[in-house]
């Protein structure tokens, strides 16, 4: 049942450009796919291993700037810049790996500190990043010598990456590694007593989440083609966190849904003008009443009568 639904959704997503929707819609959906990628990474970190990071925007930003700089300054082709962005973010996260020893609010505030640090570096190191003026003229993504000028093609690229990350993490969730980090989330001491290498696995989750965020950052850089430090403030981290929690903790599909809601809702609410963020805040609080399962759990409950047991 789940497989059929997943296949149908994927097919629909990949077939969408065929119907020639408005370029703006394609652009928004590309942004959803990019945000979904970052959110998937945080889902692994928070939903699976139970580590609260409110600094994912730092790795997202590192990936975006690495990719942007490598392709503008050194003229690196997109696939190389894309891979380098992920690696740069993962390397940066290695710096922070010692903090995975911390728990709860302490881990949160340490990642928050790191994200503020990265924001200040992006803003103040003008010789490298262009400072507050931003980084301009980032080329469109190109694959095998073919530049993706059409919004439909860029959209397909973003969706493919998001899908790839989704299925990789799904595999990871059901592996020995996934079961081990699940045990850590439920009870760290018990997991350690069972021979799970808690610190190692937690750091690995941290690095994987950063790597994924870096990849998404690279996509963002080549999709929007202009980077400013203000894209990667603490608010961005909070936004990514909201995606995961609103979608449903511990559910990969939930992270994707959450990303769609967080990216698209302000656009839908554009009608109410000045009040849109006001409404957004209120909706966020209301959704939190659903409990741990978020939108994904809510949908699941709605569909339950229809699925055969």
């Amino acid at each position: 049942m789940t497989r059929i639904v997943t296949a149908a959704i994927l097919a629909a997503l990949f077939a969408l450009p065929l119907f020639g929707p408005h370029p703006f819609i394609l652009h928004m959906l590309s942004l959803v796919a990019i945000s979904a990628t970052v959110a998937l990474g945080l889902q692994l970190l928070l939903g699976f291993s139970g580590q609260l990071s409110i600094g994912q925007a730092a790795f997202y930003g590192i990936g975006a700037y690495a990719s942007g700089l490598l392709s503008t300054r050194l003229g690196l082709p997109f696939p190389a810049a894309f891979a380098a962005a992920g690696l740069a973010a993962a390397l940066a996260s290695l710096l922070m790996v010692p903090i995975t020893r911390l728990t709860g609010a302490y881990l949160a505030v340490a990642t928050l500190g790191f994200s503020i640090l990265v924001y200040l570096l992006l803003k103040n190191e003008e010789w490298l990043t262009g400072g507050s003026f931003g980084l301009m003229g980032i080329p469109r993504p190109s694959l095998f010598g073919h530049v993706l000028t059409q919004p439909g093609h860029a959209y397909l690229l973003c969706v493919s990456v998001a899908a790839l990350v989704y299925f990789s993490l799904l595999r990871l969730e059901r592996s020995r590694f996934g079961r081990a980090i699940n045990a850590i989330r439920q009870n760290e001491d018990a997991a350690r007593a069972c021979g799970v290498q808690v610190t190692l696995l937690k750091s690995q989750c941290f690095v994987i989440a950063a790597f994924v965020a870096g990849l998404a950052g690279s996509l963002y850089a080549h999709q929007v083609r202009y980077l400013a430090p203000t894209d990667f403030t603490f608010w961005k981290s909070v936004e990514i966190l909201i995606m995961v929690v609103i979608g449903g903790m511990g559910s990969l599909f939930g992270a994707v849904l959450g990303a769609a809601v967080v990216v698209l809702l302000p656009e839908v609410l554009r009608e109410v003008g000045d009040y849109r963020m006001l409404v957004f805040g209120a909706i966020l609080m209301a959704v939190m009443l659903f409990g741990e399962t978020g939108i994904a759990g809510f949908l699941g409950q709605c569909l339950k009568p229809f699925s055969k047991r």
Binding site: L46, L52, P98, I99, R101, L102, A105, Y106, A108, V109, A110, L112, G113, F114, I116, L117, L120, L121, K123, N124, F234, V238, L241, I242, V245, I246, M249, D274, Y275, M277, L278, F280, G281, A282, I283, L284, M285, M288, L289, F290, G291, E292
Partner: protein, 292 residues
């Protein structure tokens, strides 16, 4: 002379951070919630006090402070009553409550932008502008008053928590809610008190910060983060630590802005924070607790 000026400025801004940090620490101790809307309580207190000043321009400084405290206290209780309590009663996971506080913060910021506009608003002069001479050092009266108010407020809070029955019950609830409840503590009422006090501290900090610089709808965001950092610096959940953390953070920030780089003054605080979390996980208070 110059050093003394800097020291006074650092202490004054440190007092502001201490008050915010106290609110964070109280709420975390009692509920485990990282209250992201704490900075917005500060902003709303600052704005409300400013509006009161517009209505009554000749109000003495102490009353302006009290106005800000009452406004933020009432708002904090309203938040607890309307949002956090229903969430707690439904037993949703802590992560959801924390995300709801982010929602509350977004709501408050945008409500304030609609109500007060997005321009920074300047406070009229609350204090006489001629400098005071203390031990031959001339210090701006604003700084002196802010330090004085800060110290008095923190002293009153300590007295309340240590010497009154309600204060002691609040401490007990923060230590172990279940046991305290078995001993007859009214958990619901203590939560209201906790939020009221945390709100009042934030409101006072808002008025102080507003009179030093200015108030605008996004001010709470940065100040909230710094308060949170200060609370962690002191060791989350220890009230004395929160006060100490705020003052230390204020001093570090002021001095590094001058002697290192003003662009990176926030960064230095953050590096220090990460270092402290790694090497001294129980915060500054851990230093002497370990020896004892």
């Amino acid at each position: 002379m110059y050093l003394a000026d800097l020291f006074a400025a650092g202490l004054a801004i440190g007092c502001v951070y201490s008050l915010v940090a106290l609110g964070f620490a109280m709420i975390i101790r009692a509920t485990g919630i990282i209250h992201f809307a704490q900075g917005e309580l500060l902003m709303l207190g600052s704005m409300s006090a400013l509006s009161t000043l517009w209505l009554m321009p000749r109000l003495p400084a102490v009353l302006v402070l009290v106005c800000g405290m009452i406004a933020s206290g009432v708002l904090a209780v309203a938040m607890e009553f309307l949002v956090y309590r229903p969430l707690r009663l439904r037993r949703v996971p802590l992560m959801n409550v924390i995300t709801a506080t982010v929602g509350m913060s977004i709501l408050c910021i945008n409500a304030a932008r609609i109500l007060w506009g997005s321009e920074p608003l300047r406070y009229p002069e609350l204090f006489s502008s001629s400098a005071y001479g203390i031990f031959g050092v001339r210090v701006s009266p604003q700084l002196v008053w802010i330090m004085l108010f800060g110290v008095v407020l923190m002293g009153l809070l300590q007295l309340f928590l240590k010497r009154t029955r309600t204060g002691l019950v609040m401490q007990a609830v923060a230590q172990d809610a279940e046991v305290a409840q078995l001993m007859g503590a009214n958990l619901t009422r203590m939560m209201v008190y906790t939020f009221a006090i945390a709100g009042m501290m934030a409101g006072a900090a808002g008025v102080m910060f507003g009179s030093l610089f200015f108030s605008f709808f996004e001010m709470g965001f940065v100040l909230g983060i710094k308060g949170f950092v200060a609370a962690t610096l002191g060791g989350l959940g220890s009230l004395a630590g929160a006060m100490l953390g705020g003052i230390v953070f204020g001093l570090i920030e002021t001095f590094s802005a001058v002697y290192v780089s003003s662009a990176y003054k926030d960064a230095i605080g953050m590096v220090l924070l990460i270092a402290i979390l790694l090497f001294l996980p129980s915060g500054l208070v851990g230093l002497w607790k370990r020896r004892a």
